[in-house]
Symmetry: C2
């Protein structure tokens, strides 16, 4: 059995399409990973997540360590068995969410101590504890523990933070490798930091390459810097990372963000947008996002998106989805989440096909002309 | 195509098993009808409702006339198309819910005027308007419009109310029959009233038989009188209704209520209990109901019910369901509703099989010994 192998099947400009082979399954790239924060992709049955075309989902270390708890999850047989998903799972390191969600944080060279946002209980995360938790969860792709500074932090703060994250990356590597049988089946990704600064990003990439990882994430973007600044960074960041390893842009993004990032050489994505928007009544279409709560849909017998191949668009009208959200029915979030996740997977499949056939520039241009037309 | 035919395949004591054949499908009896109040069985995809074994669902005239509105529903192609359910739908008349949910009610011989609980708008329901709304919804089994008095109303109030309901039943029959092509495909049920009083129930049954209906409901029970009084009434009420027509006990009930009612000759049931309880964390098992929020389930790797054949029990642990409810995840209500509806259908299938094989008394006795053991 292959532990982890990445094969690029075709390139088109800087865009690539390929596949990651792992013991629990193959991940087609460019890949979108639905977010299953607390052991469930919100409002979705797990077999319906698979049916949208997802090859891998993401679990959040921060949430799962607090509830149900990492040691408890191990006693219950691990995250896959717990939630009934047998394909690969990527877990984040907890680093990002401990910064954004927890209270009373204290960051030292050792790691982070913090209070749970659920019950105020005290917890600690360090590279070693993060690796241990991800092992206890049974993660397939483990993320190195890092610090994610604010996008607008001064350069010296950004540089210091990046340097510490790189020391933590080495400690993550060592702790992961000491993880016994889990390390024989799972993969470890490092995370590039350095904000919007090409030189810091380059230093970070070099340090990560020296340590050596199965894949490389681009961290510290999609934190409020805007699409233009993100794309400017992606003009150089992916190229600083190894050609023969998957590149994962964490927490991105809107459909047009993803297309622009694939054009710049990114292979993997995760984002809460399709699920969160779906719960709030926003549906993605090839003509841009739509708010299903809008009264103009009240008597619209057409599907949410006539060019969508998902079961929701095959079966239901915009009028029905509008009614469900107006009436506060749970089925509204359920159906719109399913559509949105399917839309994202159709987006990824469209890009994979276009790259494989060497027509990605035209595909992306046509996508943008239509998707952004109503802006 | 058969508009409506009821065949009793076997009887065992007063219990019967059979089938109702209609244009949109066959309803196996005794039947449990999941409640789809506002055009959705709450927290369930409609194909999953079918997969639990439901042959028919119930829609609420009161809710649907207010939102999305009956005329609008007709313009949108009717309730079946709107919600994607192609098997039979029974709609109630709105009579019960206008009493329990609306405000500023005024009841006259003509009908009921009331204010919507959603936005305070004024509306009217009468036998004629109820028939029209149920026709606009595209209902397969239409219920006569009736008044449902309080269970503890004095006998003279109960008698007057019953008499008016019987006049309304005749007006419902006439209005239904004038409904053109809809009446050629749909069925109309009358509703027996008379509270707990054998004589009033007998008079009501006689008046309904004189009018003539496809099926007969027993109304005005399960409104707080308790199981003992309900069973005492069911000792005589079903026998007052025609032998060759289905008998429908409205709004019932707990599993042990249903078993006791089938023993007394009832063929059809509806209740929000499996869906509402499911959203609240209560799961039904052959050993009685369980609260999944209870901390004792935290590390229980066993299924909700080891003797349940539903997909939820096949795949998930009590620990996982407990986690979902603790974390406030929508998947908790989704999975528990699916299990509960499946459990109810397994209950009905168990009774149908036992009646067909002439062992219903033993089946019911074994059911009660186990289901009620922990009381």
């Amino acid at each position: 059995m292959t532990r982890f192998s990445f094969t690029v099947h075709a390139t088109d400009g800087r865009a690539r399409t390929g596949a990651i082979a792992m013991q629990r399954g193959t991940i087609r790239t460019p890949a979108f990973m639905p977010v299953g924060t607390a052991g469930t992709v919100k409002a979705m049955k797990v077999e319906d997540v698979a049916a949208t075309g997802a090859d891998i989902i993401l679990g959040n270390t921060y949430h799962l360590m607090l509830r149900p708890g990492a040691e408890r999850m191990a006693r219950l047989g691990g995250l896959h068995r717990f939630m009934g998903w047998d394909k690969p799972i990527l877990t984040d390191s907890g680093g990002y969410q401990v910064m954004s969600l927890s209270e009373l944080r204290k960051i030292t060279e050792e790691g982070v101590t913090f209070a749970s946002h659920i019950d105020g209980s005290r917890h600690m995360l360090s590279p070693e504890r993060s690796m241990e938790i991800q092992r206890l969860l049974g993660s397939d792709i483990v993320m190195a523990f890092d610090e994610c500074p604010r996008a607008d932090a001064p350069r010296d703060v950004m540089a210091k933070s990046m340097a510490m994250s790189m020391r933590w990356a080495k400690r993550s590597r060592d702790a992961f490798d000491a993880g016994g049988s889990h390390a024989e089946g799972a993969a470890l990704f490092g995370i590039q930091q350095g904000g919007l600064d090409e030189q810091l990003r380059g230093e970070s990439a070099g340090l990560l390459r020296d340590i050596g990882f199965d894949g490389y994430a681009i961290g510290g973007l999609a934190v409020g810097e805007g699409q233009e600044a993100m794309f400017a960074t992606l003009d150089f960041a992916p190229g600083q990372l190894p050609e023969d390893r998957p590149r994962y842009l964490m927490g991105v993004g809107k459909p047009d963000d993803i297309v622009g990032a694939v054009e710049r050489g990114v292979d993997m994505f995760d984002c809460v947008l399709p699920t969160r928007s779906g719960r709030n009544g926003q549906g993605f279409t090839w003509d841009g996002p739509l708010n299903l709560r809008n009264a103009k849909h009240t008597e619209d017998v057409g599907p949410l998106d006539p060019d969508c191949s998902c079961p929701v668009c095959a079966k239901y009208s915009r009028a029905y989805l509008h009614h469900l959200f107006k009436a506060g029915e749970m089925l509204g979030p359920m159906l719109l989440t399913e559509h949105n996740l399917s839309f994202y997977q159709q987006l990824m499949a469209g890009m994979r096909g276009a790259i494989a056939e060497g027509r990605f520039a035209a595909w992306a241009s046509a996508f943008r002309a239509r998707y952004l037309a109503k802006r």
